[in-house]
């Protein structure tokens, strides 16, 4: 279990980074993220084709990796180079230092390479008295500052111009203090140029390696990688074994995707080199012989390849799209959201693979599973799933002490030491049942100051968050006790899924859904209210989530076979059916559920398209501000909501933030409260700008967050069009 001190430390660390680096990181990542949306948008339908092709090339390449290593080695050797496959960091560094030693190197100039960061090559070189000089300006900045990269593409992206100027002025003490970006760049360039020429070895990474030709591709904006290669006889390239592609032509989709995904149409230089390169080395009259050493780094990658869940990580081309599109990353940056070397959501996979579970455990909580990165990844990696899997492994490796006390509250399928808080959030269903049965006493008890302090102290539930208010009469109670209308020749039959929130807390939106669907000629049944497994899954409790998924499937399979549709009010539960269940259920079971599930407004949209009569729905020209749920946007069903509302005459404005910041239970956790509110600040701005428009939101956690942000409780879009609302309004 995560101790209170650790929680305190995490909270302090995040607060510190929000204050120190947050603004610069936000400015840079959101700029790149917006640019990316625009650039991939220009590709139109080609974007998906390129992604599909890139994905299948990577799948094949990793499948045939041992063969590719062999072919590449043969080619490089035939070209006159040497290949060394290094088992781990120590092995790689040993080889690199011995090559440098052989040529009597005093200094090595480097172009940007995350893999050499992973190996800590600079430390290894310096330990044997060889100077390592970073020539990429971003790398140079963090080398001088003695910091770790905070971003896969922009290592110094957390530093503002003024901070860099301060750093340079202190470090170099120039005659005239440096100020503008031009001055800083010029200074750095002039400082580095003689070092590049005077060095004995040029070291690069490789964005891609081509087996059939023995070539490597370097994607850069600065000319430093070219200079490093061209100006030095000895070229050492360091690359993970996963970088190998079979043929030159298979490089094409990656070149088209990598720049755009990072927020730039294409970089200034894409160098496709087959070293030792043909260019004569400067100074020319010394006429040295070129040599080339390719260091292929395993360092856990072969084991990742054998690990069914981590394998996908090896497809990553480190473009940084998943960092820039992540709300948490945008606000806190890679110094919180990252491990020893790698940063962002995908770092969970990389860190687990190359440095081990402990490194991933440090930051893995920061992936909230909002899924916004999934469609942005050029090789279509399911990044949230990798985070869930690793969270599950972390849970199992922890040793808890208090668990036995709470067995009754936490009837889950987990073994091992799972933290108390994870169990509680993961078993929200049980809590909700209990809370509802004893409401209002339970609400009153839960909100007493002592209880909140205790909850914060023991469970890390932030006391500033309002707790859900459980309803004594559940949605299901209401549904059962009411008089059912008789629908002659129903248009469709639907079973409405009463998610835990709708059933025990936000009962009104359930009622609105029933009334709306019935008014459109749908015969509505209620599914058994039980957890889809979403809450346990978000805590990394995969076996519990799987068990819940099986129960749900057993509940619904027959009904679906009879032609009934499943309709959801809560977007994250719909996402379980259409997305996560693919990982939890057998293929056929998954397909049955996924293919017949709909967001409630998506369903209404379909009904209207098929001729349902909207006469009874509440239509109005009211002005609304709609915040769709992040998973709705990933699934592409948010547009239906807007279309329906507009068709009914509403004037709809929409927010455009990646995530509201609450993301399920994340914002309730005391150490993440500040971050959650900081992320929410962007949404707050947009809501405030919306003036007196009525606030509308689809997700429960977004609703809670908006309430905390602006003190107004938004309603669900289904409540907007609820026929009852119309009646209510016409009678007053």
């Amino acid at each position: 279990m995560k101790s209170n001190t650790t929680r305190e430390e995490t909270r302090a660390h995040i607060r510190h980074l929000l204050a120190e680096e947050g603004d610069t990181v936000f400015e840079n990542t959101s700029y790149l993220n917006d640019a990316r949306y625009e650039l991939v948008g220009e590709l139109g339908a080609d974007y998906d084709r390129l992604k599909d092709r890139a994905r299948s090339i990577k799948e094949e390449a990793i499948e045939h990796l041992p063969d590719l290593i062999e072919t590449l080695t043969e080619r490089v050797e035939a070209n006159g180079g040497t290949v060394y496959v290094a088992e781990d960091a120590a092995d790689a560094n040993q080889y690199i230092t011995s090559v440098c030693d052989d040529v009597g190197a005093e200094s090595v100039v480097k172009s940007k390479s995350m893999t050499t960061e992973e190996l800590e090559v600079n430390d290894a070189l310096e330990a044997v008295g060889i100077e390592a000089v970073e020539t990429d300006l971003g790398e140079m900045v963090i080398q001088i500052a003695d910091e770790a990269p905070s971003h896969l593409v922009g290592p110094g992206l957390h530093k503002s111009r003024t901070e860099i100027a301060e750093l340079f002025n202190t470090h170099f003490d120039p005659d005239e203090p440096l100020e503008t970006a031009e001055e800083l760049t010029e200074f750095a360039r002039d400082h580095l140029a003689p070092k590049i020429e005077a060095a004995d070895v040029g070291m690069t990474g490789a964005n891609f390696l081509i087996a059939e030709t023995g070539s490597l591709a370097l994607v850069t904006n600065e000319g430093n990688a070219r200079k490093v290669v061209e100006s030095n006889d000895t070229h050492i390239a360091v690359a993970g074994i996963e970088k190998i592609l079979p043929t030159l032509e298979e490089l094409q989709p990656f070149i088209e995707l990598i720049g755009r995904s990072a927020g730039q149409s294409t970089t200034a230089y894409t160098s496709i080199l087959t070293p030792p390169v043909a260019t004569p080395t400067m100074p020319f009259d010394e006429g040295g012989e070129r040599s080339f050493h390719l260091v292929l780094v395993d360092n856990g990658r072969m084991a990742m390849r054998d690990d069914e869940q981590l394998r996908e990580t090896l497809y990553c081309i480190r473009c940084s799209a998943c960092l820039n599109s992540c709300a948490n990353f945008q606000h806190v940056g890679g110094h919180a959201f990252g491990g020893e070397t790698y940063t962002g959501g995908i770092a969970t996979g990389w860190e687990t693979g190359v440095h081990g579970l402990e490194s991933a455990a440090e930051f893995n909580d920061l992936c909230t599973g909002c899924s916004r990165c999934v469609n942005q990844c050029p090789v279509k990696i399911d990044i949230p799933w990798i985070n869930t899997v690793v969270r599950d492994r972390i849970n199992r490796s922890d040793t808890g002490t208090f668990d036995f006390l709470y067995e009754g509250l936490t009837p889950d399928a987990e073994s091992g030491g799972l933290s108390l808080r994870k169990r509680l959030f993961g078993n929200f269903e049980t809590l909700a049942k209990l809370g509802s049965a004893t409401a209002p006493v339970s609400n009153w008890l839960a909100n007493r100051r002592e209880s909140r302090l205790l909850a914060e102290h023991v469970l890390g539930v932030d006391r500033r968050r309002a707790l859900p208010e459980f309803q004594r009469t559940t949605f299901r109670d209401w549904f059962r006790s009411r008089e059912r209308p008789i629908i002659e020749e129903p248009m469709r039959r639907a079973v409405l899924y009463p998610d835990i929130y709708t059933n025990y807390v936000s009962v009104e939106r359930g009622k609105a859904a029933v009334r709306t669907l019935e008014s459109l000629g749908v015969e509505v049944e209620l599914a058994t209210p039980r957890s889809t497994g979403r809450e346990p899954l978000s805590q990394g409790m995969i076996s519990t989530a799987t068990e819940r998924a099986r129960l749900i499937h057993a509940d619904l399979a027959d009904t679906i076979d009879e032609g009934t549709d499943v309709v959801f009010i809560e977007p994250s539960d719909l996402a379980m059916f259409t997305d996560d269940y693919e990982k939890l259920l057998p293929k056929e079971a998954y397909q049955t559920l996924a293919e017949n599930s709909y967001d409630v407004l998506e369903y209404v949209y379909g009904l209207l398209e098929n001729g349902a009569d909207p006469a009874e729905l509440s239509a109005d020209d009211e002005s609304l501000m709609y915040h769709s749920h992040c998973q709705q946007r990933t699934l592409g069903v948010n547009t239906h909501t807007v279309a329906v509302l507009e068709e009914l005459g509403y004037d709809v404005m929409t927010s455009n933030v990646e995530c509201c910041g609450m993301a399920g239970s994340f914002g309730y956790k005391s150490e993440y409260y500040d971050l959650s509110m900081d992320v929410g600040d962007e949404l707050r701005g947009q809501l405030v700008e919306a003036g007196d428009r009525r606030l509308v939101a689809s997700g429960t956690s977004c609703t809670d967050q908006i309430d905390d942000l602006v003190g107004e409780n938004p309603i669900h879009p289904i409540e907007v069009i609820d026929p009852e609302r119309r009646k209510g309004e016409t009678t007053t």
Binding site: T135, D136, V141, A181, L192, E249, T279, F284
Partner: protein
């Protein structure tokens, strides 16, 4: 017996080329690259016009286009460090990106296209390919025929690492491309 009209096909090819060249020039402009389109007779003159100050260059592999007199080929280290402009040939250009592909050989195209602050690339109009997919087919053929090192250049070297975008970082700060029409058909 041929059923197609050869002349019509020529016209079609020509139209496609014209389109690719226009597209290239637009994309190049977006990437801060200047372009000039000239008939072969005026190519040397156009290169001379694009040159700033002292120039170094690598001999062009084209039969019909030669470098202006004042361009120093096979430059020394000092020539490279002091020159204001470097001129090389491009094997092809990619219209959709405004990219030129510079092969690097023992003729020093690498440093010539990297050290001087202004880079001039000369490409034949018929080598302007519409998109990346076509470019890679051509590239693969070049590699089959012995080409080893190629740099795709899209605009001047740049960095955003110092707080805002700056051009001319370990490489040229200006790039200019001369597109040479060898067909005599013009556009």
């Amino acid at each position: 017996m041929p059923t197609t009209n050869d002349h019509a096909i020529d016209e079609l090819d020509h139209a496609r080329d014209v389109q690719a060249i226009q597209r290239f020039r637009e994309a190049a402009a977006n990437a801060h690259v200047e372009t000039t389109y000239v008939p072969v007779e005026r190519a040397t003159e156009a290169i001379a016009d694009a040159i700033e100050g002292d120039a170094v260059g690598s001999t062009l592999p084209f039969e019909t286009v030669t470098l202006p007199e004042k361009v120093r080929t096979d430059p020394t280290d000092d020539d490279l460090r002091t020159a204001q402009t470097g001129v090389t040939a491009a094997a092809f250009a990619i219209a959709s990106y405004g990219t030129v592909a510079i092969p690097m050989t023992e003729h020093k195209e690498g440093p010539v296209s990297l050290f001087p602050p202004t880079q001039v690339a000369v490409v034949l109009a018929r080598d302007v390919h519409p998109d990346m997919a076509t470019a890679f087919e051509v590239l693969a053929r070049l590699f089959d025929d012995g080409t080893k090192d190629v740099i795709f250049v899209t605009g001047p070297s740049s960095t955003g690492d110092m707080g805002s975008l700056v051009r001319g970082v370990h490489g040229p700060e200006a790039v200019s491309v001369i597109i040479v029409d060898t067909t005599g058909e013009g556009i």
